[in-house]
Amino acid sequence: MGRFFNIWMRELGICFLSPIAYVTMVIYLGLSGWAFMQGVERNVGSDEPLQILLLASLFFLLPILVAVITMRLFAEEKKSGTIETLMTAPVTEAEIVLGKYAGAIGFLIIVIAPGVASLFLLALLSPAIGITDIDMGALAAVCAILLLVSALFVAVGLVVSLLSKNQIVAAMAGICVNGIILAIGYMESLLPMHAGKFISYMSIENHLLDFGRGSIDTRPVIFYASTTIFMLFTAIRLLGLRRWR
């Protein structure tokens, strides 16, 4: 536990040591804030809930943000050779993978959290919307779905990073794989009825809309939790496999 915590804290701390983290943070928050503003301006008079506009603005860059955060997790260690000192220390593969995962999730939350706050900023600055107009329950559901999707995306990014020595390759592959997961939901209309229905259960867009309206369904929770655990398990096994090459 102590070693897991140690790796976690280093991974989180290291994010703030490189300028890339700050650049990513500024670009992400700038773009998502701009998107939120655009969404609000274009929907003046419509009955589109504010939290869905917020969710859309925070989500559209998420695959890229995740790829930028996860690309270095293992690719950097492999390139610089520090993986050798890491794996010869008395640490288990699970501690390494989970520590790095927790560090990446932690940093992602730190980046996204100010984005959520822009809803409150809008309520404070706009004469038309008050703090009481914000649906807190629905906002909590929005945060929950963002966290669930991020958990899966980061786990996928971690596995991809483990497979590559080059950070850029890891980032590109991460964007592609997460993009495919995102795109699966859109295949619903292309497939015959039963297959299409099955696919709709995996549609991230549907989950986002459901949660955005404030309805928390346990099926997506189980879907994201199980696929995330599967990805992390894969990562632990892949890391262990390195010794046998």
Binding site: I14, S18, G81, E84, P90
Partner: protein, 346 residues
């Protein structure tokens, strides 16, 4: 060499006869490698290698590039698995008791990989915690390694800004921080300037009191300076294992005495040929001096005799040396032999 490996094989066989003997062996031997093989696909990197390292020994691991040194060290450090063979470190199997073994080894990989964006003290603290140290013992161990590796002036510097020599020392401090029984150092002196080299060497020599050290290097004079024993690996096989002095003795042919002397050349040659033990004398004139090379029988030293003759005849003598062969000659001769174009050892 053949007799040496033969003896070792016999030791191996008797080692497994009774439990008490195995216990004694595990106390004596820090590393026991038996029939280690590592294949990468079709390529065999390490081929049926067996050797032992006693506790408290400093052993040099020599070999040309691509001979399997790094692979062997990576396997010993538990970074890689072996295709076959048994390896025990401190009496424990490195595959079954991997965690316990890792607690007892300090490993410095080739090229000293470090987290370049951390400060030295942060890095050492992180690594020490990773190796299970905490609280007061963590602080005292870090203070100790910073002191012994002479890092106090750069403790707050970002690792990426350090010179190569300092980076090496940070790597070494990391390997030492948990007081391991065994240190595995893969080319600890590569790329250092002569001053840094000297520092690292004396540091390693000082470690020998409390640790067993296995180090690989290309610099042969270094092995002669630091190591008590040398393992030479070539093409994935151990081709020699002995003290540096014995290895040099192994390939030493007949001794050759070189003298530079002033006097009548033919007279000198005649007198030298009369010395017992001298088999052949050749001469070469250098202005007023003669350079005489006496080839002698094995095990003889005729230098004092030559000096006496020069004194009796009133000849001026400005050089009198026995041609020395060093570990470099051994290395070249053994590894070239493996490639099929060298001289035989026996």
């Amino acid at each position: 060499m053949a007799s040496l490996t033969g003896k070792r094989k016999r030791d191996n066989n008797t080692g497994s006869t009774c439990a008490g003997f195995i216990f004694v062996q595990s106390v004596i031997y820090m590393i026991k490698v038996a029939n280690l093989t590592k294949r990468y696909g079709r390529k065999t990197a390490v081929d049926d290698v067996s050797f032992e390292v006693k506790r408290g020994e400093i052993v040099g691991f020599l070999g040309p590039n691509g001979a399997g040194k790094t692979t062997t060290m990576r396997i010993l450090s538990t970074f890689l698995s072996a295709t076959g063979g048994v390896i025990e470190i401190g009496g424990m199997d490195i595959f079954r008791e991997s965690m316990e073994v890792r607690r007892r080894i300090g490993y410095l990989p080739e090229n000293t990989p470090l987290y370049e964006d951390m400060r030295v003290i942060e890095y050492l603290r992180y690594r020490a915690r990773l190796k299970g140290l905490h609280g007061a013992s963590l602080r005292s161990r870090i203070d100790k390694v910073i002191d012994s590796c002479d890092l106090s002036s750069v403790a707050r510097t970002i690792i990426g800004r350090l010179s190569k020599g300092y980076k090496k020392r940070v790597g070494l401090a990391d390997a030492l921080v948990h007081e391991p029984d065994l240190l595995i150092l893969d080319e600890p002196t590569i790329g250092l300037d002569p001053n840094q080299l000297r520092n690292i060497r004396s540091l390693i020599r000082n470690l020998a009191d409390r640790h067993t050290v296995l180090l690989s290097t290309h610099i042969l004079s270094e092995v002669e300076m630091i190591c008590e024993r040398v393992l030479i690996i070539s093409d994935g096989k151990i081709v020699a294992s002995d003290t540096p002095a014995n290895l040099v003795g192994l390939i030493r042919g007949n001794p050759r005495i070189i003298t530079e002397i002033k006097g009548d050349c033919s007279e000198i040659v005649r007198k030298f040929e009369a010395i017992t033990g001298v088999t052949r004398v050749s001469s070469k004139a250098l202005a007023q001096w003669n350079r005489i090379v006496c080839e002698c029988e094995k095990g003889t030293d005729v230098r004092s005799e030559i000096f006496r003759i020069a004194l009796q005849n009133g000849w001026d003598l400005r050089e009198l040396t026995e041609e020395k062969q060093n570990l470099e000659d051994v290395f070249v001769s053994i590894t070239a032999l493996e490639n099929g174009n060298g001289q035989t050892l026996k």
